[in-house]
């Protein structure tokens, strides 16, 4: 069973969202997602300042197995990206909820957060997919 921290929110495309307060969230991919992908070898992230609507392609994760799009789980503007992933993409595998984070986003519509899955909802979804 994969690790699904209860203090995070999730979307069905396997990204996690951490509320940092003040309308800012941190985004990454879940333990379940990194497990499906296998060893991550490249992560392509957007530029700081870029704006995304919910569901837009935010980046790409390339693993030994496949290339996989990462979608913006919420609308907003990129405040920061995790530059460590350029030299150490394996952080996505070893610490998906910590050092393997992808981007920090300033939300353009904080009410969208209400549509996200909680840990139980996401666990159910993973269960159904397996």
């Amino acid at each position: 069973m994969s690790d699904i921290p209860s203090d995070l929110k999730y979307v069905a495309s396997h990204e996690w969202i951490r509320d940092e307060g003040d309308g800012v969230v941190t985004i990454g991919i879940t333990d379940h997602a990194q497990d499906l992908l296998g060893d991550v070898v490249f992560v392509e992230l957007p530029e700081v300042g870029a704006e995304f609507a919910t569901g837009d392609d935010l980046g790409v994760v390339e693993s030994v197995k496949a290339a996989s799009d990462v979608y913006a789980p919420l609308s907003g503007e990129i405040l920061a990206i995790n530059g460590d992933l350029e030299d150490a993409p394996e952080l996505v595998n070893s610490d998906p909820y910590g050092d393997g984070w992808f981007v920090r986003l300033r939300l353009s519509d904080t009410t969208e957060v209400d549509d996200l899955l909680d840990a139980d909802g996401y666990a159910e979804l993973c269960e159904a997919e397996s």
Partner: protein
């Protein structure tokens, strides 16, 4: 649930992630494919390859039968245990399968015994094909050996670690093996062959002994490795994968397997010979090359190769090379390709270097 090898319980014990592979439940990795890859390049790793198909070919006509069945010529096996890589072709010169054949007995004795190892995904087709082609020979017997499990131990420290768990007699047998040679020992078979570009052994073991052998190797510091690492290792070594880099519609001349065709003696007839001779005369329009992507991203099979904006072939195998830290691929392209081209990667044209399809040997980069 798929078929299980005799090592299935060991794989579960060692936390393998299992996937379906040609109808078998096989380990794809035991945690990290990339780490397993590095272990084979730097130390020693072991792979369960018991799913591969082993067929013994015996009888007074065994040699003549194989000389007819295979594009390479088993007459080249002039020492007991020597191995030969060959394509088994159809009449149009396409590859039915690629295989390794060992001469089990001394050469030129009456009733030579050969051992053939073919792919798992092609087992039924191969067995049928091989049986059908015995028709014109009076005395050939084909015996499949499903009771033999097989473990490949590969890497610079593979031989030292394997010999640390075996009897003195077997250690001597292994120490006397040349590269690409195998010998039997009381029902076991030790061959200095592999699919990684490193030194190592492929060991056939009666399945009742294989779990203990596997555990002894693990205790001696040989890391279990999955088929994921096996694929990136073979790709770096420039070794073809059947079904990806060639198949029944592809000639060995278009699959970097020209060296496996024994044209001489010209009077030897083999299945596919006429078609190949015609291709050799007129020249083939495509060949298999290596591609190296020095920027970020990963080349994947079926991506299109572009030359001057025109489609000029496609990638047959592509992945990330853990040893080189960038992506590499094999691609079937126009024979007149220059030393660079482009690949359509998810809608973006990316420049790649064209090299001979061999990237890493014995841990070192080999292309330039």
């Amino acid at each position: 649930m798929g078929q299980k090898t005799a090592l299935y319980d060991k794989h579960l014990q060692m936390n393998a992630k299992l996937v379906d592979f040609g109808g078998w439940d096989m380990p794809i990795h035991y945690g990290s494919q990339v780490e397993e890859h590095h272990i084979v390049r730097s130390d020693a790793g072991m792979f369960d390859v018991s799913h591969m198909t082993v067929v013994d070919v015996t009888g007074a006509d065994a040699k003549e039968y194989l000389r007819y069945l295979l594009a390479n010529d088993v007459i080249r096996l002039q020492e007991q245990g020597k191995a030969l890589y060959s394509g088994m072709l159809n009449e149009t010169g396409g590859v039915v399968d690629d295989l390794i054949v060992y001469l089990m007995t001394e050469p030129d004795v009456t009733g030579e015994w050969f051992r053939v190892v073919v792919n798992c995904g092609t087992r039924e087709k191969d067995l049928r094909w091989m049986a059908d082609h015995t028709a014109q020979f009076d005395n050939v017997a084909l015996t499949e050996r499903p009771e033999l499990a097989m473990v490949a131990i590969q890497g610079p420290n593979a031989l030292a670690k394997v010999t640390s768990v075996l009897s003195e007699a077997r250690v001597k047998l292994i120490n006397d093996l040349k590269v690409f040679q195998g010998r039997e020992s009381e029902g076991w078979f030790f061959a200095r062959t592999g699919y990684t570009g490193e030194d190592g052994l492929e060991v056939m073991v009666p399945e009742e002994y294989v779990a203990d052998f596997w555990q002894a190797l693990a205790d001696a510091g040989v890391a279990p490795c999955g088929l994921g690492a096996r694929d990136t290792l073979r790709l770096e070594a420039g070794m073809n994968l059947y079904g990806s880099d060639m198949d029944e519609k592809v000639s060995p001349l278009m699959a970097n397997m020209g060296w496996t065709i024994a044209w001489e003696p010209a009077e030897r007839d083999f299945v596919g010979r006429k078609a190949l001779e015609k291709q050799r005369e007129t020249g083939v329009k495509q060949k298999l090359v290596g591609l190296v992507l020095e920027s970020r991203g990963v080349l994947r099979s079926h991506q299109k190769v572009m030359i001057n904006g025109e489609e000029a072939g496609e990638i047959t195998s592509g992945s990330f090379s853990p040893t080189l830290g960038c992506s590499i691929a094999m691609a079937r392209v126009s024979a007149d390709i220059a030393d660079t081209c482009h690949v359509d990667m998810r809608g973006k044209l990316v420049e790649v270097k064209v090299v001979k399809p061999s990237f890493v040997r014995n841990g070192e980069k080999v292309y330039s």
